[in-house]
């Protein structure tokens, strides 16, 4: 309160014309965020599944046991994962402009998000597959199943429940990334919160965006939980 009284400018900025803001800014931003997150999850989801499955199956004693490949993938994942996303965004700049043609906008953000999410998903896939009962894999081998068949029809289905929960966890992480991408010129809710909220000292807009993100995250978690429960039958 005292702050508002001290600065007439701040008080003035804390008003929003909702009739204009919602259709012009918020709704397009929601669509942009949903688009960025969806495309990222499809691309990084698949790439992460492949890398994660390789991380798991190339382990000692597993069906594709291969020490050099396993060590290489582990190093790669560990190299990318600790980089804070906001720094990765900046660091990837040259690569982004090479691949996407620009460092700004929704598509540039998607590229960086895919990059970060792929390695995060790879680790989550690996960790969930480790919990598969090795006996089940041995049984499949004893029945004469090929390695690819074991991967796709035994390992992934057996780990599907935890995988869904892992992916849900990651979608929420990607929503977080998409908001951060707003800081370096990405679009979506992050940009609205930063440009229209934070930089113009308009807390109402920031809070409105936060509220929308919270609702999105709750919805995603709810869907993930329901799907996982269905798969796990409990």
């Amino acid at each position: 309160m005292s702050l508002n009284v001290a600065s007439g400018k701040l008080v003035a900025a804390n008003t929003v014309d909702w009739n204009e803001f919602i259709p012009d800014k918020l709704v397009p931003a929601i669509f942009d965020t949903v688009y960025m997150v969806s495309v990222t999850m499809v691309i990084a989801g698949l790439l992460g599944l492949v890398i994660g499955a390789l991380l798991y199956t190339t382990r000692q004693g597993n069906i594709l046991q291969n020490r050099p490949v396993n060590i290489f993938l582990n190093l790669l994942v560990n190299f990318v994962r600790p980089i804070p996303f906001i720094i990765l965004l900046a660091a990837l700049g040259p690569l982004t402009s090479m691949v996407v043609g620009t460092r700004l906008g929704v598509n540039a953000a998607i590229f960086a998000m895919c990059f970060a999410a792929t390695f995060a998903i790879a680790r989550i896939v690996e960790q969930n597959m480790v919990s598969i009962d090795p006996g089940v894999i041995e049984a499949a081998r004893a029945m004469g199943a090929s390695k690819l068949r074991i991967l796709f029809t035994v390992m992934i289905p057996e780990a599907l429940g935890p995988l869904i929960l892992g992916y849900t966890f990651l979608i929420i992480g990607v929503v977080d990334m998409s908001a951060m991408a707003g800081y370096v010129g990405g679009g979506g809710l992050g940009k609205v919160a930063l440009v229209d909220g934070y930089q113009r000292f308009n807390d109402l807009i920031t809070w409105a965006v936060v509220l929308v993100i919270i609702v999105m995250v709750q919805l995603i978690q709810l869907i993930g939980n329901v799907l996982a429960r269905k798969v796990l039958r409990r």
């Binding site: 009962d133 006996g135 089940v136 041995e138 049984a139 499949a140 081998r141 004893a142 029945m143 004469g144 199943a145 090929s146 068949r149 029809t153 035994v154 289905p157 057996e158 599907l160 798969v231 039958r233």
Partner: protein, 352 residues
């Protein structure tokens, strides 16, 4: 592929031939010899048991038979097809002729019972209609015809193992490997599963190799047995021959889990404390009528007897066991009685 192109030899009497096979696991600088120069033959149509304590190498040995583990030395064939030295891709086809069941059942929780039994049929490339018919047939065979749509976690342990058996037999293999298949089950369910394995052997003519540490499993279904210790087969033969007359300590210990053996030093001291007569242990074997004759004339010699300890078991329809007797009478008569018993069976004085 090379398995298929190998000309199948004439159906021989032998299902599994293991010759001088060793398996060495290398971990770092240390070598662990899990299977040490084992040779044995499993005949077509029999139930062959491999018994041993954990770490004896029996689980490794059974995994060499279907190539889940590769042989380090020696040769191994199943139904005339060579298993040792084959590539994984070549082994796949051979494995469709070898079913396997496990201690922890190893069913896929993401599939229904029917889905689990269907899996090996998909691997073998059966078409959908044939698969469906075969799954139902197998479910009926193991007595779970009404459980097709259940999931493994909705079944009891015994039911899970029956699903395991149905799955292992779906592709009509000629050999079934059972790795500690009843060790996770209670005694009653164990008998149920053993009964099913016996039925598999009797009705379908499938050769069965059972790995176990339970003497009951061997005595209730096996025809022949190999006793393993520290990677080696230390005794092998007909179940009755091996267990009515065990030659090694490990075999004796297994026999003693079902049949009371001659008193050990501790038991002997305890018996001596409670009985003042002369204590002897006699071995009972099938068809030995001599012992009864000797015992029935004891009274004429002024000797009385009490049975103080012992056990009898029937194996393959033949009985064997041990009885400890307390003999009461004067010393000359006792000596005469013991000498007479020694002519019909093995007699040992019980010493503490």
């Amino acid at each position: 592929m090379s398995v298929a192109s190998t000309p199948a030899p004439q159906a021989s009497e032998d299902m599994v031939v293991i010759e001088n096979v060793s398996k060495v696991f290398k971990s770092g600088k240390e070598n662990l010899t899990a299977v040490d120069n084992v040779s044995l033959t499993v005949r077509r149509g029999e139930i062959f048991a491999i018994i041993g304590y954990s770490g004896a190498g029996k689980s490794t040995l059974v995994r060499l038979i279907n190539g889940l583990e590769s042989v380090s030395e020696g040769t191994l064939t199943v139904a005339g097809h060579r298993i040792s030295g084959q590539k994984e891709s070549a082994l796949r086809e051979a494995r469709q002729n070898i079913g396997m069941i496990f201690q922890q059942f190893n069913l896929m929780n993401s599939r229904t019972i029917a889905g689990n039994i269907e899996f090996p049929l998909k691997v073998a490339g059966w078409d959908k209609a044939k698969r469906r018919a075969r799954v139902q047939e197998m479910l009926e065979f193991v007595g779970l015809g009404d459980r097709a749509k259940y999931y493994p976690d909705q079944l009891s342990g015994g039911q899970k193992q029956r699903v395991g058996i149905a799955r292992a037999l779906a592709t009509s293999p000629s050999l079934l490997l059972a790795d500690e298949s009843t060790s996770a089950l209670d005694p009653e369910t164990t008998q149920e599963v053993l009964g099913l394995l016996k039925k598999v052997n009797d009705e379908l003519g499938i050769t069965v190799v059972v790995i176990t540490h339970e003497m009951d499993v061997v005595s209730s279904i096996a025809d022949r047995v190999a006793v393993m210790e520290k990677g080696k087969v230390v005794e092998m033969g007909n179940v009755y021959d091996v267990f009515s007359n065990p030659q090694t300590d490990v075999a004796r210990r297994f026999v003693s889990t079902t049949v009371k053996q001659a008193p050990n030093a501790f038991e002997a001291a305890e018996l001596k404390r409670r009985h003042r007569g002369y204590l002897v242990n006699i071995e009972i074997t099938e068809g030995n009528t001599g012992i009864g004759k000797v015992l029935s004339y004891l009274g004429n010699r002024g000797v009385h007897f009490n049975i103080v300890q012992g056990g009898l078991e029937t194996l393959q329809g033949k009985s064997y066991g041990n009885l400890t007797l307390e003999l009461l009478g004067d010393i000359t008569s006792l000596d005469a009685v013991v000498a007479e018993l020694a002519t019909v069976t093995t007699v040992k004085e019980v010493r503490s």
